[in-house]
């Protein structure tokens, strides 16, 4: 019984995160300027990270934690690089 409740709760949480991802994609397509799109991508990878951690909880596998860590690292690097590009027109000077 508790297992079913937990499964439903995790499913609802994943559905909410999926909806959040859809909203981020909408902002990514719609965003009037480049900085809005970069914010949308930032929010997108963060919500993807959260849903990956939820998949890890659901399957009981520790592997997904490392995937989430890699996503966090790559997301920070890419957001910083794009912000630098927007500021200076070049990433590495």
């Amino acid at each position: 019984m508790t297992r079913e409740v937990l499964a439903i709760a995790l499913f609802v949480a994943q559905a909410m995160l999926a909806l959040a991802l859809c909203l981020c994609v909408y902002r990514l397509i719609r965003g009037p300027r480049a900085q809005d799109r970069v914010t949308a991508i930032d929010s997108l990878y963060m919500n993807a990270l959260l849903s990956i951690v939820l998949v890890g909880i659901r399957t009981g596998s520790e592997l997904y934690f490392e995937a989430a860590l890699v996503i966090a690292l790559a997301g920070f690097t890419s957001t910083s690089a794009v912000a630098k590009f927007l500021m200076r027109g070049e990433v590495i000077e």
Binding site: R3, E4, A9, E62, M87
Partner: protein
């Protein structure tokens, strides 16, 4: 959908509540990102999902893996600390880039307005000079018009 870890009831309840809270907070952040009007408003809501949302879901993960494998699994906190350290840096860089771009754009607009005003002034001056020249020429070419007479000379 039937996939869930086999946890004792209290732990399962805690995980369910934490996961739902985290996901709801993340969804709130995404709605804020969608609905706010300017970029400087829109920078703020995604930080909901990276602070409270991430914290709740990481806590749910800690509870799950601590109960599943009999020892305390706190390496998930690494994720929370890493994101908490790096996100302000990237957001600050992004906001500064946006500020710089807005300033450059405003300056360009001002400059373009000044150039346009100067060009219009010049065009008006030119048109006035041309009209004056045309009027003088018309006076000169009138039949029987003696230019010297106009100055009182014979």
């Amino acid at each position: 959908m039937n996939l869930a870890p086999d946890l004792p009831p209290i732990a399962a309840l805690a995980v369910a509540v934490l996961a739902l809270t985290g996901a709801a907070v993340a969804l709130t952040g995404a709605i804020g990102l969608l609905r706010f009007k300017t970029f400087y408003d829109r920078v703020h809501p995604p930080t909901l999902s990276t602070s409270l949302g991430l914290f709740c879901i990481v806590l749910a993960s800690i509870v799950t893996f601590s109960v599943l494998g009999t020892r305390l699994a706190i390496h998930e906190l690494l994720l929370f600390f890493f994101v908490t350290m790096t996100l302000p840096v990237s957001m600050m860089l992004l906001a500064r880039a946006a500020l710089f771009r807005d300033r450059v754009e405003a300056f360009d607009k001002e400059l373009a307005a000044e150039v346009r005003a100067a060009a219009q002034q010049e065009a008006a001056d030119l048109a006035a000079a041309q009209a004056e020249a045309a009027a003088l020429a018309a006076v000169d070419e009138r039949p029987g018009h003696d230019e010297d007479a106009a100055y009182g000379r014979d």
